[in-house]
Symmetry: C2
Subunit: 296 residues, 2 copies
């Protein structure tokens, strides 16, 4: 298989055969177009990029660096044994390579830990912690935009999962940009049209320091089942995942969903917004739970 | 596995284990609820049911009969060798069983045949012929409603297929009812929430005369690929197909799609509506094509 644009050997087949150089151009162009199309940010913004040490966020960091954006990184050490130390090392190496600032925080600094609580699965607790801490860190340090490495396959899996559970209110919110609101900073997904495989190839050709280990808790992640399904469909219908998301975005242009905005309160402990009438946000509830269990 | 409602042996597992009698109740109740919820028809309507001799339409006929509706059948003999004669026999037997009138027409009566034409695949030609003849027969014979046996899996496959091709204008139209308009009679799908498997089980427990042979052209049917995919997903996530369609219907309530209604003309040959500026509908174009090829 040879590159569609030159005679060199192709390293990737879809959306068309490309050699390493033409893939790199395609990859960066796709991200830049996404940033511009959705007004994600410009060079005046103070950008924070959330990183995990994995291929997706490492590829995002390096791509934004290659595209000439300035930003800082945020790594949240989740203190998961045999996992977090490796990912932290990969992140540190990556930021050393590009010579940008990386901010590192640890869940224990917030008297919290990633573990299942009551009947809530561990991945759900972990997600809530990360979302809260990313936003709080960005807000308190004056960042105007928080970029995450959610990719095309994440989005499609989330879509299928919510179609199966009937939670269409989440489908409606599944956008490349979530605007700033209250104490929530603007959130953007520059890899919205990039597949996991493309992030992997980009990481490999740039020899990025990536930790490829899987989170020991990931088997509990409900999204991974839907990703497997999507890959099965994709293998028989190359392009399906991208077409699916594009159709969804087209369809959503015509959706007029009456957002039921409940009253928003200020958490009495941290001051961040919460929909809970108890005026305790879910992060502070987790903190309280772990404090009590420590005392017990 | 035993029936959830009594101690008899269950014959079907999903949506819950049911014996033959309770399955029959569930099946007829689901259809009756669909008919009422979407105002498909009532006992004053003059109903035409399109039948093929296969399990889905035979189950529809018998269910409507058991529910006490009066109607006539329409069988279009497509004159596909080693196939159409068997399906016609099954249809005749079924209507003898319930003692209702069955109307039979043959494509050759209209100087047409089911075959690929130019680059148009055979299943697409066949679909166009059936849609045209069903509507024309219903309209010319004063039927107020045309019922077809499209089922839940047909609908979900059609949805996936159109998400893949990006033709969202077809998704928007994917409703249990298409209202009467111009010379198009009202079209309804009473099996919208019934799976293929349920139609099969209902046909078997009622010992309906069904022709189980597959159309020799069916390998060219693009929908069947998407059905296979759906069955794979369903096997690992029982209920997925039903949840998927329910979510889609929920989502569509909020869609406001500006229907681009092009000008509608009268076909200068048959007088039925067509969007073509040439004033020749696609059925009459097919007729013309076959007439010319006969002369050649």
């Amino acid at each position: 298989m040879i590159c569609k644009k030159c005679c060199k050997k192709a390293i990737i087949e879809y959306p068309y055969p490309m050699c390493d150089q033409h893939f790199r151009d395609y990859y960066l162009r796709t991200i830049q177009k996404t940033i511009e199309k959705y007004n994600m940010f410009n060079k005046e913004d103070k950008i924070l990029v959330a990183v995990s040490g994995g291929k997706d966020s490492s590829a995002l960091v390096y791509a934004l660096y290659e595209l000439g954006y300035e930003f800082e990184g945020l790594y949240i050490n989740l203190e998961i044994p045999n996992y977090s130390e490796h990912s932290e090392n990969a992140v540190k190496e990556l930021f050393k390579l590009i010579d940008y600032r990386i901010n590192i925080i640890r869940v224990s600094d917030y008297n919290i830990r990633v573990s299942p609580i009551y009947k809530r699965p561990i991945c759900s607790v972990c997600g809530a912690i990360k979302r809260y801490l990313m936003n709080r860190f960005a807000y308190e340090n004056g960042f105007t935009v928080l970029a995450t490495a959610h990719n095309l396959v994440d989005e499609a899996a989330f879509f299928l999962m919510n179609m199966n559970s009937g939670q269409i209110q989440y489908l409606i919110k599944q956008e490349p940009v979530l605007p700033k609101e209250n104490k929530f900073v603007k959130k953007v997904k520059p890899l919205y049209f990039i597949t996991e495989r493309e992030n992997m190839v980009y990481s490999v050709i740039n020899k990025l320091p990536v930790y490829y280990g899987e989170c020991p808790n990931s088997s509990g992640n409900p999204q991974s089942k839907w990703k497997q399904i999507l890959y099965k469909i994709e293998s028989e219908n190359p392009g399906f995942i991208r077409n699916f998301i594009n159709s969804m975005l087209k369809l959503k242009k015509y959706i007029n969903y009456p957002e039921k905005k409940g009253e928003i309160f200020c958490c009495k402990y941290c001051g961040y917004p919460t929909g809970s009438r108890s005026r305790i946000c879910s992060f502070c509830r987790l903190q309280k739970y772990f404090n009590n269990s420590k005392k017990a």
